[in-house]
C-alpha cells in the first residue's frame, strides 16, 4: 500500500469507528508491514482537511484518534439534536467523577466520606452514561464494589490519558494561595 492508499484506509476507519482509533488497532486492521506511523498519516489527513476547508477535524483522545466536527458548526448541530440535546453533568456528578478519577478503584463509602453526602444518585447517572464502570470488589472486609472511569470518560472530557487530568493540588498549596483567603 502506498501512502495515499493508507490515508484512505485510515479515513475510512475514522468514519466508521465509534471509538478512538489507536495505532495498535490500526495495524491489526491493515494486517501488513508498513514503514510509516499512524501519526504521520493522521498529520497528512489533517492537512488535507484544513486545506480543502472541511467542516471536521481529527483530534487525539483516549489513546487514539477520532473525527469530530469543528466547533464553528455546533450551533447547527445543536438544532439538529434539539430534542435530545446532551445534558451537562450536575455538580454532584462532577464531584463524584473527580473522586473516582483520582482514587480509582474506589468504593462508594470512600466517595461518600469525601463528599460528606450519599452519592447513589450521581453514581447511577454516571453508570447510565457509561462514564464510570463497576470493576470487581475491594479486598478489605465488606468486599464493597469498586468503581473506575471508562474510555468514554476520557472521550467526554477530551483527555488522551487519565494522566491529563488537572493536577490535584497539595493541601499546603490550598492554604497558601487561595481565594478562600485564610487570613
Amino acid at each position: 500500500m502506498n501512502f495515499d492508499e493508507l490515508k484512505q484506509v485510515v479515513e475510512a476507519l475514522l468514519i466508521a469507528t465509534p471509538e478512538p482509533l489507536s495505532e495498535s488497532r490500526f495495524l491489526q486492521c491493515i494486517d501488513t508491514e508498513i514503514d510509516v506511523s499512524l501519526e504521520n498519516i493522521i498529520e497528512a489527513l489533517s492537512q488535507d482537511y484544513q486545506k480543502s476547508g472541511r467542516a471536521f477535524e481529527i483530534i487525539q483522545v483516549a489513546g487514539g484518534y477520532q473525527l469530530v466536527t469543528k466547533e464553528d458548526y455546533q450551533i447547527y448541530i445543536k438544532r439538529m439534536f434539539a430534542k435530545s440535546s446532551r445534558l451537562r453533568l450536575s455538580q454532584a456528578a462532577l464531584e463524584t467523577l473527580s473522586i473516582i478519577a483520582y482514587r480509582q478503584p474506589v468504593t462508594r463509602n470512600d466517595i461518600d466520606a469525601i463528599r460528606g453526602v450519599n452519592s447513589d444518585s450521581p453514581l447511577r447517572t454516571l453508570l447510565e452514561r457509561k462514564l464510570i464502570q463497576i470493576r470487581g470488589r475491594d479486598e478489605g472486609q465488606g468486599r464493597a464494589l469498586l468503581y473506575r472511569t471508562t474510555v468514554e470518560f476520557l472521550q467526554y472530557f477530551g483527555l488522551n490519558t487519565i494522566k491529563e487530568m488537572p493536577k490535584l493540588r497539595e493541601i499546603e498549596e490550598l492554604i497558601d494561595n487561595d481565594e478562600l483567603s485564610f487570613v
Binding site: A16, K70, Q74, R169, L174, S181
Partner: protein, 246 residues
Amino acid sequence: MSNLNKNMYRIDLEMFEGPLDLMLFLIKKDEINIYDIPIAKITKDFLQYVELAKEMKLSKAGDFVLMAATLMKIKVRMLLPVEESDNENIEDPRTDLVNMLLEYKRFKEISQELEEKEKLQGQHYYRIPLESGNVDITASESLEDVQMYDLMVTFRYLLQNYEEPLSHNVYLEKVSIADQMIFLKQKLMLSKTVKFSELIPLLQSRLVLVITFLAILDLVKGNQIKIKQSQLFDELLVMKGEKFEF
C-alpha cells in the same frame, strides 16, 4: 428563627452539595482561618441552615444534622481542660474536620476544571457511525457496549416480571395470545421501540409467530401499542401506545 434571620439565610440550600460544601461557604464568607475555626460561632451559623433545611424537608437534611452533631462534639471537647503534662501530644479536636474540608475542597476544584473541559469538548460532535455502516456485521448483534451495570439492570428487570414457579420441571409447550401479549409488553418495558424482525428469531415456531402476530393486532386494537412503518416494505416498529399498561 426570627424573620430577620430567615431573610439573611434565604440562600437556596439546594445549591450546596452537602454539609462540607456549606462549611466551606461559611468559612469563605467570614474570612475564617481554616486552621483556627471559631467552632462556637460556626456551629451557631451552621445550625441556622440546618433548621432551614429541615423546614424545607430537604433530602440532604440528614447529612447536615450529622455534621451539626460533629460540630457540637468538637465544641464540647474544646471546652474540656487539657492536662499540662499531655499538652504536646493532645491533638486539636478540629483536626479531622479541617482535613475533611481540605480534602473535599481539592476535589471540588477538580470538578470545576472538569466542568470547563466538558464545556470545551461539548463544542465538538463525534462522528457517530451507523450501527454497522454499509458493512455487513452480523445484523442481530452490535447494539450497545455492555458493562456490568447493564447486566445488573437487565437481570433485575427480568426478575421483576417473573414469578418463580412453585413446582419445578413443568414446562407447557402451549403458547397463548395472552402469553405473547405479556412477552411484547416486557420487550417494550426494556426498549422504547422493538423491530418486528428482531422478534422473529426469538419465536420457536411458525405457530408461535402467528400467535405473536395476533397478540400484536389485539394490543393495537386496545391502543396498548402502536405500529409504525416509514414506508411500504420497511421495517415494522412496535412501540407503546396511549393506553399501554403493564
